[in-house]
């Protein structure tokens, strides 16, 4: 229970090695997927005892109880006692006292790392305290009457039924309180709306289900995709502390610079939200929204898409890495250099094996969410690629579909999203995977010439 985990600085304050919260006790099969679950000791069940036909609480230790995961695809639970087994299958509510590395509880809005987020936080706390005081007064009077003015205590009902004076008073007082709340709120809001004089502009485009970042004027742009492994999501591997909040390419920004974001979307509405920056803005297809931030402290700040955007809405997180300006500039140069290198890839002579290997990873990252890792798709929304006539048909048709997509049906246009080499690789991969054995390959040069001719 003293395991140490290394975590990025920002998450550090959210992680504690051991934690004593009162309902920690009620940890359930959460940690079923944890390889170290077997070290966990005590299990408490309220079970229906089939033999004796009554309920009884049991305290179990590992010695007479075990859980075993037999397969990857689902959880198979074996118990020595049948009753327990049934219960587990039914409700999965075994109560487990677990000594796993845990993430600390957060109760409140983060105060964040920008002046804006700080003033939003202050606003939040002020309204909260006002509400608390109102609540205490109103409920105080109410419960006081409930205890004193009850018939069982011999209370006799008064018969008054109105008083213009008090009614006017309790209309006016709330009005004044509201005005007092509205003033700081207006100031903060006005400030949040002033996105002028930015040092840096970044265009953020929502895609089903990833974010695209473009540094305006810098010729640097990239996609940012969930990095959490499928094994973790499907409970086959221990979840890491940044579970579902980690991406392959974080958005890197300089500290102490005013950054303006321009939000838009490629398909449905998404919403870009990073609590520590107090920025949440909808990314709407066909429209551009703006917002800004100025980060005071270096660190990694995590967020998620906040607007329901379909099947994988839960799986398009945001990771912002704020670094000092020198570091940022160095990173920018590195990005540009790697982009140049990628451009050279078109002219390179690719072997089929190279394309297949590259294609597998492009497919896993970009296509598997819809068409599934095994190419079986999720019909009718997402067609299977395994056995698809287009995939097995002529190369041009296949290339055209992937490059131009079929936006109105939900197939993105990858010509605008992937490099030429990646497109060639993924097409080659699709044509030679699963039951598709066309035996041919598509080279980056072919893709390039098709794109040029359009």
């Amino acid at each position: 229970m003293t395991e140490n985990i290394t975590v990025p600085s920002q998450m550090q304050r959210r992680i504690i090695p051991a934690r004593l919260s009162f309902f920690r006790f009620f940890k359930a099969l959460n940690y079923l997927g944890y390889p170290d679950w077997q070290k966990q000791t005590i299990l408490i069940f309220l079970v229906w005892d089939w033999k004796n036909k009554k309920k009884r609480p049991i305290l179990r230790t590992k010695s007479n109880f075990y859980l075993q995961r037999a397969t990857n695809d689902g959880c198979t639970i074996r118990c020595k006692e049948n009753a327990m087994c049934r219960l587990l299958h039914l409700f999965s509510t075994a109560l487990v006292l677990t000594p796993a590395p845990l993430v600390a509880l957060e109760f409140n809005m983060p105060a964040g790392v920008t002046d804006t987020s700080q003033s939003v936080f202050n606003l939040h706390m002020t309204i909260f305290y006002i509400c608390l005081v109102i609540g205490i007064i109103v409920f105080g009077i109410m419960f006081w009457s409930i205890f004193h003015h009850r018939k069982s205590k011999g209370a006799k009902a008064a018969q008054f039924h109105g008083s213009v004076l008090v009614e006017v008073i309790w209309t006016l007082i709330p009005l004044l309180i509201l005005i007092a709340m509205a003033i700081p709120a207006t100031t903060t809001l006005t400030d949040m709306y002033d996105a002028t004089e930015s040092d840096l502009d970044i265009q953020v485009t929502g895609h089903q289900w990833k974010w695209h970042y473009k540094y305006i004027g810098e010729d640097v742009d990239f996609f940012s995709i969930l990095a959490t492994s499928r094994e973790e999501i499907e409970n086959r591997k221990q979840k890491n502390p940044n579970y579902l909040l980690e991406v392959d390419n974080a958005l890197v920004v300089p500290t102490n610079k005013k950054i303006r974001f321009l939000f838009t979307s490629n398909d449905v509405i998404h919403s870009w939200w990073v609590p520590d920056l107090a920025v949440k803005k909808d990314a709407i297809p066909g429209f551009i929204n703006e917002s800004w931030t100025l980060i005071n402290e270096p660190g990694t700040y995590r967020g998620q898409c906040a607007e329901l955007c379909g099947k994988h809405h839960a799986f398009m997180p945001i990771e912002v890495k704020a670094v000092p300006e020198v570091e940022y500039l160095a990173w920018l140069d590195a990005q540009k250099a790697s982009k140049l290198a990628a451009a050279g890839a078109v002219d390179k002579d690719w072997s089929k094996d190279e394309l297949m290997a590259a294609g597998a990873s492009v497919y896993e990252k970009n296509c598997a969410v819809c068409h599934q890792a095994d190419g079986s798709g999720l019909p009718p929304a997402f067609p299977p690629l395994n056995g698809s006539a287009i995939v097995q048909g002529d190369k041009t048709g296949h290339m055209q579909l992937v490059i131009n997509g079929r936006q109105e049906k939900g197939m993105p246009a990858f010509g605008a999203q992937l490099s030429v080499a990646d497109i060639a690789a993924v097409i080659t991969y699709e044509r030679n995977s699963w039951d598709n054995q066309t035996g041919d390959m598509v080279s980056p040069a072919e893709v390039q010439s098709l794109m040029d001719s359009q």
Partner: protein, 525 residues
Amino acid sequence: MSTHTEAGHHGPAKGISRWILTTNHKDIGTMYLVFSLIMLFIGGSMAFVIRAELFQPGLQLVMPEFFNQMTTMHGLIMVFGAVMPAFVGLANWQVPLMIGAPDMALPRLNNLSFWILPFAFSMLLATLLMPGGAPDFGWTFYAPLSTTYAPPSVTFFIFAIHMMGISSILGAINIIVTIFNMRAPGMKMMDLPLFVWTWLITAFLLIAVMPVLAAVVTMMLMDVHFGTSFFNAAGGGDPVLFQHVFWFFAHPEVYIMVLPAFGIVSQIVPTFARKPLFGYHSMVYATASIAILSFIVWAHHMFTVGMPLVGELFFMYSTMLIAVPTGVKVFNWVSTMFRGSMTFETPMLFAIAFIVLFTIGGLSGLMLAIAPADFQYHDTYFVVAHFHYVLVPGAVFGIIAGVYYWLPKWCGKMYDEKLGQWHFWLSFIGVNLTFFPMHFVGLAGMPRRIPDYALQFADFNMLTSLGAFLFGTTQLLFVYILIKTVRKGKPAPQLPWDGAKGLEWTVPTPAPYHTFATPPVFGDK
């Protein structure tokens, strides 16, 4: 009141045709209530699926696409199938009884507006079995997720919404006509019991906004099938237009779901405090102001869509204003209790819980009104906590309180008080265990409508799931109590609550099939 002898009237028809062909407000009221109870359990079982999936991090029970269908259907069914029909059912039973009318003004229309519902909801539920699955775009069905990117079943969803809308509009017309034309002689508008007043105002809201809902789904239909581009930016449309039209309907809609509950609580609290309602007039005016204000606050659901600054400020201020009349109502209820002579039977317990928990929901609503802070709350579990507080211990507790309160008059039997108290306390604990922790995960950053979440949200989610299982199963006890009362409850006295006032208590117990065939004279109690 010997005028209620029913010798000359026929009783209900026999068999199933009684229910299919009935034009009797009591039968129709009962059907609405039973329908809503069934829907409560269907919507509730979907909530079970949602909470079971969210019991722990990781995907375990359902796929994300099915999870989205569950959240969507749960919302639609609870809003349109459980809460709204329950209030219409209560209105059917109570409005004629409370104003001394023999029936609703338009009895055949009444039959029609009920019988549309089973068809509408069968169609909606049938989408679960269609290829591509049920609607999966959330109960707010934002375009273009619900148009260009929707599953094929969206067409059936649109049709079902149209049918529900027609049913609601017909029901609302009926209630308005009844209240305006069929009051007992001598009963002026300012004599109306508050339940009737709140329903009258609600009915106007329904007539005003259900056509807007019909309009927005029709625009969707056009976009999906007829090549228009209302909400499609590529064709020159605007996805945000959808949200404006939708929320112009849906914000008044949330008041539609809570104003009648205000009315019920305003009937129950004076009865059990044995003291007249404090500030009757200001209650009526407050209800009316809430209804009027509800038309100019819709965009507070859209603070993050990128409205211009003045727009944000306008909707922030107007939303904050709603706190004033709402506060007046809460203060009036508390003052009604103050220096009363209170007892705490089940209806009163649910009414008090309503006041406390609805107020908590109202206060978090005030927090959400503050636009800059809303940027952090929007689309998180904080919002989920907020609207469940106003809808579950708000609207639903109001309905349950009303059912316990009037049940003795309806069926002539008394419910089991001890079981009623159990039902209350288990529901109270369950509801808070379910929805209170949602505030925390929301503030800490958990977005809504996700089937899987980061690890720091795990504990509170587990607590919420346990609470939800408790709350859900407790409602089986409610069904048991109802069945037990109807089957073998003790006979209820003419006036089951010694503090109860109003025409509905002057009819015999159980209320005969036809009441007030001769109008009572109001004031002649």
